[in-house]
């Protein structure tokens, strides 16, 4: 690992925020800062930036728009939002378009912010060392030259329509399993090999969001697409920080959006298989409260999922 300091870039239209953050991180990183989204894009294009931490509401450019452009300009840069308020639309966009690492709310806890940024920087350092085509989003997978191998998907929803729709969209090339409870989903997951989970957050009995968060901890390589009619920003922020949800799709489902999301998730899953180091990007925060105690059977499922999810070199 290089001895040079890593670079972090802060973007906020309030200079006092920038001054304060520079002080917090002085000596730890090379701290760059700007009040302009446009300038931020120029910076990430001109030099390696390990982590970008941006405000959401800025007059010139919204934070999520900046995240989206940085994701293209410098995919290895870890992207974080640090914002006083974000509407749901912005949070959804930060997941779907910005592939955000963490969503942090102002006022922040200094130590927590330091730890989060450090985690992002460590991940980015390793990714900057990777060949570019691996890191680039949407880059063709050169490893699988011929037809893409079939993958296994799991749909968790009490409403059978979702399973039908997913099957219609990608059932021809891939195997799509269905589950209507968390337990049956875990059973399917514990047998291994599931690339993508499509899950409705609302469930009559089960805490699907909690299960998705735990899943990410035990099996970071399994990508999750969360569906919901819910319009609750708190839930979504937790799913970002503790669940690294890959996509969030509002219900009623748009078939086109679902198709694109599934495609992106399957491509990304393949990339993760090829370069397990990228899995670190999916690291999650510990939830503040551990989910309630689990039955022995569920524990057993989780153990097996964790064992399956362990990074195996050249699996």
């Amino acid at each position: 690992m290089s001895a040079a300091l890593a670079t972090v870039l802060f973007v906020d239209d309030e200079e006092r925020i920038l001054r304060s953050l520079r002080m917090l991180f002085r000596g730890r990183y090379e701290v760059l800062m700007t009040t302009s989204g446009r300038e931020a894009i120029e910076i990430v294009q001109s030099r390696p930036v390990h982590a970008l931490i941006s405000d959401q509401r800025m007059p010139e450019m919204l934070g999520v728009d900046l995240l989206r452009q940085v994701r293209v300009a410098s995919p290895a840069t870890m992207r974080l939002l640090l914002t006083g308020y974000a509407d749901l639309q912005a949070i959804v966009a930060s997941v779907n378009d910005g592939e955000i690492f963490r969503f942090i709310e102002k006022p922040w806890q200094p130590q927590q912010l330091i730890d989060t940024v450090e985690q992002a920087v460590q991940i980015a350092r390793q990714e900057f060392a990777l060949p570019r085509e691996l890191a680039a989003p949407g880059a063709p997978i050169t490893l699988a030259a011929g037809a893409k191998p079939a993958a296994k998907l799991l749909v968790l929803d009490e409403d059978g329509d979702t399973l039908r729709t997913v099957r219609e969209v990608c059932g021809a090339q891939h195997e799509v399993l269905g589950a209507s409870t968390v337990e049956s989903a875990l059973e399917a997951l514990s047998s291994g090999g599931i690339a993508v989970v499509v899950a409705e957050l609302a469930h009559r009995h089960d805490d699907v969001g909690g299960a998705l968060k735990t899943l990410k901890r035990y099996s970071p390589g399994t990508l999750t697409i969360a569906l919901s009619q819910l319009r609750d920003s708190r839930t979504l922020i937790e799913l970002i920080n503790q669940g690294q949800v890959y996509r969030f799709l509002p219900k009623p489902l748009s078939r086109e959006l679902l198709r694109r999301s599934l495609q992106a998730a399957l491509d990304h899953h393949q990339k993760l298989q090829a370069a397990p180091i990228l899995l670190r990007r999916h690291a999650v925060e510990q939830p503040k409260f551990e989910p309630m105690s689990l039955s022995a059977r569920l524990m057993d499922y989780w153990r097996r999922i964790r064992d399956n999810g362990r990074v195996r070199p050249n699996a």
């Binding site: 925020i17 304060s20 002080m23 308020y85 102002k106 006022p107 922040w108």
Partner: protein, 461 residues
Amino acid sequence: MRFAEVAVMTKIPSAAKDLSPGETAGAGVRKERRIDALTHAVQPVAPDTPILAVGERFLHPASDAWLSLPIVEHGKPVGSISRHELMQRVYIKPFGRELHGKRPIATMMHAQPLVLASDATIESASRTIAAGIRQPIMEDFIVVDAIGNYIGAGKVLDVLGAMEARLAQHSADLETAYRTLKSSQTRLIQSEKMASLGQMVAGIAHEINTPLGYVRNNVEMTQASLQGIGDLLLAHERVVDGLLGGADEAEFEARIAHLQSQRALFDAAALEDLRALLDDTVYGVGQIAELVGNLKDFSRLDQERSERVDVRRLIDSALKIGGNLLRKKNIEVVRHFGEVPEIECSPAQINQVLLNLITNAAQAIEHADGRITLRTHTMGHYALIAVEDNGKGIPQQNLERIFEPFFTTKPIGQGTGLGLSICYQIIEQHRGRIRATSSPGMGTRFLVALPTPGHRKESTP
């Protein structure tokens, strides 16, 4: 038919099916009251019945309740004869009975009797009666079915009674409708307030959390830094104590060494930066205090209490609260404040109006060079406030409707269409005026005129 035969005086339950089979069956029984409910099956009189025989009919107790008797030929009513007429023309005239008694009743009947269809509503029946009745009232009406066949007779007074009952019902319905409307209007106004409150809270959360973010961070960093300063101070003190003779040579050397290491740890440049950060902190706390102060004006939206205030202060306050949207859209705010006397108003309500107008103005701007101009001046007994934008403007046909409740051009779910109608109400309640002028593509100007206190007193004695 013999006139001595008893008239049938039973009340017909609903449609007089038994008298004219099948004719009115289609009508069925509806909730709404109709004339068939007031119909009695009165035995009609044939046109060739002698006048005296008709007189006998009137004397029969069964006819006691009736002012007139229907005259029917081949199932169709052809006229009516009233008790009054018979009395006037036959019985009290000298030799009336002898002269007319044997003639058929057709020679004396009224040939344009009141005829109502059995399925007529009470309302339409009362209209027909009002148009066709002779004064004073001396006859009853005849009821026919859909093809004009005789069914029975009814009394005008019964129609009046039914009409009264209906009116009472109507006014009860109106009362209920009024109460429902009023409560749903209150709810709607409340939900409009909540909707704008929701937007406001979103903006204000951001406005407050930004300074709170750096204030908290700066304070925590200062705290950490104070720890370092404390350590350094302690090291100094121990050296000074040593100099004053509190330690032997070796101990003193150790203290000097410790002081040097503490000095090396201490970042003097950081202390200088910290000073600047504390200035920021003071500024940030001031920002928060100001926001909260402005918020207080808005929090009591229902407060009706009147205060004397400077409208310019209210405008500034509304600009602060709406500031987030303005900044987000990079809108330039221009103030042209002329002298205005203080006005007496409910500040929370006028704030609501101003915030609404400013928010609307900001929303109307869809280009990058947005500008909102706020003006105040005095004209006669009014303080005038103008809110002007250079946004997309309002087409003439919409401009006429903007103060109507529920009129909105915003997409469903983004506006209740009540904002401006509530503004209108509030300004009306303040005995003021609100007007809008607009040129599409150029912008819109809202003008609010509020009476100055002296004037207000005159108009409200």
